[in-house]
């Protein structure tokens, strides 16, 4: 009886002062992380003040990012398809892979500079970074999990109970904090140390003659869509890919229902493009040379093909380029590779 009483007393102390944080678990102090905007970058679209990254929030986000518990089979983590060495894409995989060997229909996009993007995924289906993980987490062919299921699994892990308590004021394991932690991890993933950046910021690097020629060609032939220092104008366009009957991907139309958005996909950033092969929304093109060959000679006409690719008489023109010009453009594109980013230990699983 005395022993039981002891338990009751213990429980009571816990219950009656539930609002006092210190009585729960010994938690470590949290400190804020600095979110630094590179001097050659635009203002972020992500409102950092609403979810300021902290040391613990970042640590939690990273742990979640690499944790297979976010999927139904316990294996497929975010990091499974987003591998750092390849600017967080699924190296050589044409389409993303999911639980139990399921195959998706689209190529995993790179993850960097997400704090500067307006909308997410190939069709803009997520209008905010905090909401984007809902798509891969709940998709049957990706992680096939539910938030209810994940929260239950995380609550059973003492290290998560502790980390959530340290990272967030309300100390709760819930969808909001889970998504915020993932965002804190992802917004810190800034890639801004490529050779191109160092040239743009006048930090002493210079283009080779080949890269200079490629840069000038790029500016006249590609930069109307791959615009600005993020190398995307963030619009949705049909770039003349033939319809792949295996997927028959309707693109942006799935989000808006507008016929004018059929087969349109987001103009992707070209940062780290050397590493993120294969290319296009369905990973159909293996090399950068294949991509440029598509633009010069492989485009297919359709209702929604971007008018930029058309002649005044409405025949498809594509982007005329000689073989030499293609090589020069590829040389320039390789200056967008950021080795510091792909080797940055802060973002590494181990």
């Amino acid at each position: 009886m005395i022993k039981n009483l002891g338990y009751i007393v213990l429980i009571l102390i816990g219950v009656s002062c539930g609002s006092d944080k210190e009585d729960y678990i010994p938690i470590d102090q949290n400190s804020s992380l600095e979110f630094t905007i590179p001097s050659n970058f635009p203002e972020p679209t992500y409102n950092v003040t609403l979810n300021p990254p902290t040391e613990k929030g970042f640590e939690l986000g990273k742990k979640l990012f690499y944790d297979g518990r976010l999927s139904s089979d316990g294996v497929i983590s975010c990091g499974f398809c987003h591998i750092q060495d390849f600017a967080f894409t699924h190296h050589t995989h044409i389409v993303s892979h999911g639980v139990n060997g399921a195959l998706g229909t689209r190529n995993a996009q790179p993850l960097h500079n997400l704090a500067f993007m307006n909308e997410f995924t190939w069709d803009g289906a997520a209008i905010h970074l905090d909401l984007q993980p809902i798509i891969p987490i709940t998709a049957e062919v990706e992680m096939n999990e539910s938030f209810t299921g994940i929260i239950k699994k995380l609550e059973e892990q003492p290290e998560y109970v502790k980390l959530f308590a340290e990272a967030f004021e309300d100390q709760k394991i819930n969808s909001e904090n889970l998504l915020k932690a993932l965002s804190q991890f992802m917004i810190m993933m800034i890639s801004s140390n490529s050779k191109y950046d160092k040239i743009e910021r006048n930090e002493g690097s210079v283009f080779t003659a080949e890269e200079t020629a490629g840069f000038e060609l790029f500016a006249s032939k590609c930069a109307s869509c791959h615009a600005g220092t993020l190398f995307t104008d963030q619009s949705y366009r049909n770039n003349g890919l033939s319809i792949n009957p295996q997927y028959n991907d309707i693109g942006r139309n799935r989000v808006t229902g507008l016929a004018s958005d059929l087969h349109k996909f987001k103009v992707p950033t070209l940062r780290n493009i050397e590493l993120t092969f294969p290319y296009m929304h369905d990973g159909r093109l293996k090399t950068l040379k294949d991509v440029l060959d598509h633009y010069s000679d492989g485009m297919v006409d359709s209702e929604t093909i971007d008018p930029l690719f058309k002649n005044p008489d409405r025949t498809v023109m594509g982007i005329p380029m000689t073989e030499e010009e293609k090589n020069q453009i590829i040389s320039f594109l390789k200056t967008l590779t950021d080795d510091d980013f792909v080797n940055d230990n802060r973002f590494s699983e181990f």
Binding site: E119, G124, A125, D130, L131, A139, N174, S175, K180, T256
Partner: protein, 256 residues
């Protein structure tokens, strides 16, 4: 021994929470409010599956499912003062099939006399990220109110079967939500509470709202199911239906 336990219990509770209620006399006064959503077709209570109804396009229909999201509840006093219910706690899923879901309970409301209520139908995506909105995900997920591929909520789910005049029966499925950032179908409605509602300190009040789903078909706009019985991401019909949906609520003065 039992007595001893009780005393100890009382003591611990007293001691350990002595700081909880400072300045009790100066505390503002709060009451609570239950709002009942009474789903109807015209003047009659909605009956799922078995009851057949008619719309103005001469179509008869039965309803198998009705769900909608209520959010961002604001109570307004006669002088225009607003009491905004905490946004994070302000998401509710009304499901005709589950009676407990049709009564929403609000607590810690400033006392006073309120003459209007304002609320949203769906989720206000123009103000993302809204504090706490993501915590509604598990509920929406379990109730099939998440458009997972578009990372957004279905605001209204209305399903059943219909028969056009002289025709054969087929299913209808109306899912209304926003379409990315291109089309925002979130609506807010403000209802006059003609009898007023008084929130008193530590007292529970009741308010009833009628939801007339016949208005989904026939209100500001007329929607014929024969014309379009499957509305999901439909940039033409979804806004037409969303406009109708925003007219389907009224204060039920009989029970107020």
């Amino acid at each position: 021994m039992k007595k001893f336990t009780l005393i100890l219990l009382a003591l611990i509770t007293l001691i350990s929470c002595k700081d909880d209620d400072p300045n009790m006399d100066n505390n503002p006064k709060f009451g609570s409010l239950d709002i009942d959503f009474i789903n109807k077709v015209g003047a009659n209570l909605l009956i799922l599956d078995t009851e057949s109804y008619n719309n103005q396009s001469n179509e008869s229909y039965t309803i198998s499912e009705l769900k909608y999201i209520i959010s961002n509840i604001v109570l307004i006093k006669e002088n225009g003062d607003e009491f905004t219910y905490p946004v994070a706690d302000s998401y509710f899923l009304i499901n005709e099939e589950v009676s407990s879901s049709k009564k929403i309970s609000l607590s810690n409301i400033d006392t006073g006399v309120y003459t209007k209520i304002k609320f949203g139908i769906g989720v206000d995506q123009s103000n993302y990220p809204l504090n706490g909105v993501a915590n509604f995900i598990p509920t929406a997920e379990e109730q099939g109110m998440l458009w997972s591929w578009s990372a957004g909520y279905k605001f209204v789910k209305f399903e059943g079967s219909f028969t056009p005049q002289g025709g054969t029966s087929s299913d209808f499925l109306l899912h209304i939500g926003s379409h990315g950032e291109v089309l925002d179908n979130y609506k807010e409605v403000t209802l006059d509470i003609s009898n007023t509602i008084t929130i008193e300190d530590q007292t529970n009040s009741d308010l009833a709202i009628d939801t007339d789903v016949a208005k989904i078909f026939d209100s500001t706009n007329t929607h014929s199911l024969e014309q379009k019985s499957d509305v999901q991401v439909d940039p033409v019909n979804a806004p037409i239906l969303a406009e109708n949906i925003s007219t389907m609520f009224s204060i039920n003065n009989a029970s107020n």
